[in-house]
Symmetry: C2
Subunit: 208 residues, 2 copies
């Protein structure tokens, strides 16, 4: 709208108020139609950063709300000591399960990785079945599924039959179609710009 | 590779080990070239969920690493009590600044919003100048810039002259080109699937 430049500050303010009022009303209407409360299946996928970090943000928010949470780490070495140390502040509210020796380039041992994935999945099922756990993070589960270390049908079946109020967050790039299909909320983190391109090292506090 | 189906588990394991070994070596080489350590400018943008949540994940990680952090909230009402409560566990390490009465549909008062944005920006400059603050979150700054409530040149100038070791995280959709230009790491959160489409209500612990 090129005529905008000719408007006075006061006119701009009035227009703004009108526009924002309309937005507010529209939002109210939308929210009024949303009445189902249930635990959600949330997926963070994509090649960009922030999949696990955003999941941890949700975990900390849930902890702040005094909910019990559980975390299963399907890929070793992805977390920094910082996350651990921060979770330690909420020790009585958090259950953490680390998958055996982890996997991929660090182990180079496929048979052992499959074994570890199966154990971590058994643990996940237990944690999901326990309705005390209100938010459960299955960190990097997508990676394990992508390598076909777990039968996808079993995972989908467990997700399908999860306790109604439990939220489950699944992270990892290359989420399988079946996972996206069963999820309520799917976000893809896309990389636009990365400091590694310009020779910057990963460092304490911030991790890429 | 259609012949994959005919390989035995043992052959699959050997192939896997070879492939992963190569990956590991390649990764080592890349990491060896990354030697610059500096505070980064990190941007979370896009229309999807997780921009602020991932930033909070980084804040909690930094807190776990015993770093001082500061948060300026440019848009009111975006945080839930959960975040607040979780941050309270690290009270001595966190500085939080809330921007006046907040902005957009909640206030519908453009003049007051501009005033509040300016104050929050003054506070941000102070926090950035204080080298005790190692990680600074300028939450939803992009929104304020998009509405032209702050002169972009001033913001870029401050970011350009930030203390070398300070990490700054900027969130909000529609990041301006100038912000992307000066950033080291930019991630765009893209919405793939949203529960509001199917009538599910936002709720405690999980927020959309």
């Amino acid at each position: 709208m090129p005529e905008k430049k000719e408007l006075s500050e006061e006119e701009l303010n009035i227009r703004h108020a009108e526009k924002m009022h309309k937005k507010k009303e529209a939002r109210k209407k939308i929210l009024a139609t949303k009445t189902i409360e249930k635990g959600l299946i949330i997926v963070h996928t994509g090649k960009g950063k922030g999949k696990t970090t955003a999941a941890f943000g949700m975990i900390f928010r849930a902890l702040g709300n005094n909910l019990n949470v559980a975390v299963v780490q399907f890929v070793k070495g992805q977390w920094l000591s910082g996350e651990r140390a921060a979770l330690d502040k909420f020790r009585d509210k958090v259950k953490i399960h680390k998958m055996g020796e982890g996997f991929t380039w660090e182990t180079q041992d496929r048979a052992r990785d499959i074994e570890a994935a199966k154990k971590a999945w058994e643990k996940s099922k237990e944690l999901i079945a326990d309705t005390n756990n209100k938010v459960i993070l299955l960190d990097e589960l997508n990676i394990v599924l992508r390598y076909n270390y777990l039968p996808i049908e079993q995972v989908i079946n467990t997700l399908h039959n999860k306790p109604k109020d439990t939220h489950i967050i699944i992270t990892g790039r290359n989420a399988k179609d079946e996972i996206i299909e069963i999820a309520d909320l799917v976000t893809s983190m896309e990389l636009i710009k990365h400091p590694f391109r310009s020779g910057v090292k990963a460092q304490v506090g911030i991790e890429f």
